[in-house]
Symmetry: C2
Subunit: 352 residues, 2 copies
Amino acid sequence: MEQQQIIFSNNLQDAIGAALQGLDYNKVVILTDVNARQFALPKVADLPVVAQSPLITIKSGDINKNIEAAIAVWKQLESAGATRRTIIINIGGGVVTDLGGFAASTFKRGIKFINVPTTLLGAVDASIGGKTGVNFNGLKNEIGVFNEACAVIISTIFFDTLPDCELLSGYAEMLKHGLLSDKQYLAALLNHDVIDGNREELLELLRRSVIIKRDIVAADPHEQGLRRALNLGHTVGHAFESLAMRRSKPVPHGYAVAWGLVVELVLSHIAYKFPAETLHSVAQFVKENYGTFTIGCDDYADILALMRHDKKSLRGEINCSLLADVGDLRLGSTMSDDDVTAALDIYRDMLQ
Amino acid sequence: MEQQQIIFSNNLQDAIGAALQGLDYNKVVILTDVNARQFALPKVADLPVVAQSPLITIKSGDINKNIEAAIAVWKQLESAGATRRTIIINIGGGVVTDLGGFAASTFKRGIKFINVPTTLLGAVDASIGGKTGVNFNGLKNEIGVFNEACAVIISTIFFDTLPDCELLSGYAEMLKHGLLSDKQYLAALLNHDVIDGNREELLELLRRSVIIKRDIVAADPHEQGLRRALNLGHTVGHAFESLAMRRSKPVPHGYAVAWGLVVELVLSHIAYKFPAETLHSVAQFVKENYGTFTIGCDDYADILALMRHDKKSLRGEINCSLLADVGDLRLGSTMSDDDVTAALDIYRDMLQ
């Protein structure tokens, strides 16, 4: 897969110009959603390419990331006179970049698209890596294709309009990237104040995070090996998310990932002697910023069952990507119910 | 793009075994349509892989090659327990391989599929080249992706159940491939009796035709240059098809291509001195096998307008891929209304 162009800039005029430069196109269409249109689009509404291009607006929310919305986008692309040489600029969070990427990748067998993520989670995760798609029949991202945006523009100018919980949600993925790469970057992340900190500093931290993800994706575009490293924190995190859903008290995805990271670092410590000191500093950061997800012994059986049914697990084993140290991966580690139980006990000691 | 495996064989047991060999999969699902289920499937129904796999049947006919049918296939894949490691075997004509290829390419961001074309047109054209998709909003193949089957099995065992007009329709694409390659192969095609001829001989002719197409596609998977050569006969052919539709007397696609080839060879003769002798032998073959599409001077304006609106034409010019000789391409030749008018006159002299 050709490496996609990733532009880090808070000057959107120049960034979009650079993204379009050298591309053969005859028209631009802007795709956004109701939320991004209200909060993010005003930041770029004056740019000629935005002001002068047709605008397609989809509904916000993961529940609206479905095939019906894709069909509506295809129809509006036709009404807008889109051809094979039209470029879609997706301006929004993960719903917009996932659905817009899918709509572009399938319209006339694929037209080019540029992602402009307006959330931290989108910037660090959803907008790069080529995963496009929609939910289908109650399953997340069930219909889609792997296809990279021809350019991604990473900027922090949109973040001031985000609620704190959304910033923190995205930041959990950055912590994950820190754990997957090196101690110095992880330390910088643990020292940064994502809510009130300097936005240029955040853009620099984002740059490092995005490059880490891009390099992992480039080595494994179709998620057959190394890319599973990006699942760190997610096996336990998804179980917590599902449990929260059953309790009718849903939690933000990134929060579940943050708590999941703590449990999986404990598992890493049990299985591979992941350093206790690093584990404790991450746990401390998570507790201070994300609070805790409260579980009791009664929940253990449910959590084990949910982990066993994770879509990345085969043959009903509990399977995680763990770490022997920061940046030292142990992909596809299988673990026993006893190990998970012990790790959940320690998680409760540390965070509750 | 990795070159796909193409297996030429009338032993389907061995062919499917060879196609599946070395693939990592946990389940096979068979996709077919109502027609193919009735006429073609009985030829392979006893093979264990077919008998023991879930079967999904879609409606026949290009009119049913739509997004609703793709949605129904996705749902049935889920009911059948399909995972990322499931392989779909598409058994049918172009509707089945186009739609089945699209459904597979988008299910869980893409699962593998094998094409077993049961029509000559499917074998020589639709099943190879990676064009998948569905019609949408009145436009042909408007939604889809470029994605090759991991294997295509070419066999003539299904052809005895095909109406003559379907055999001839597919054969027109083979004539096109002959014109794009070399005189010896073209001569062999003009000497073969596709209706009553030997099926092993046809399989050999098919092998040559499929390899020609595969090599052109491999050189230009996304249709940006050389692949336009495969459009030979189609600019005029599509115009004739549309005209027939307006007259409420639709003609088979391949017939329109056969007549279109004659007109475009005349244009090739006018523009590049394509040899008169070859032109006449092709025209003779077309007249004998396909009859003629009757046009009068009154139709010229319509035909010119339709050619100008061909989806491959830019800026309203009339643009064809022509030939200076058999195998000697002149891609993207622009021609005047006078040239086209002259060519239509000569076509009428030769065929009417």
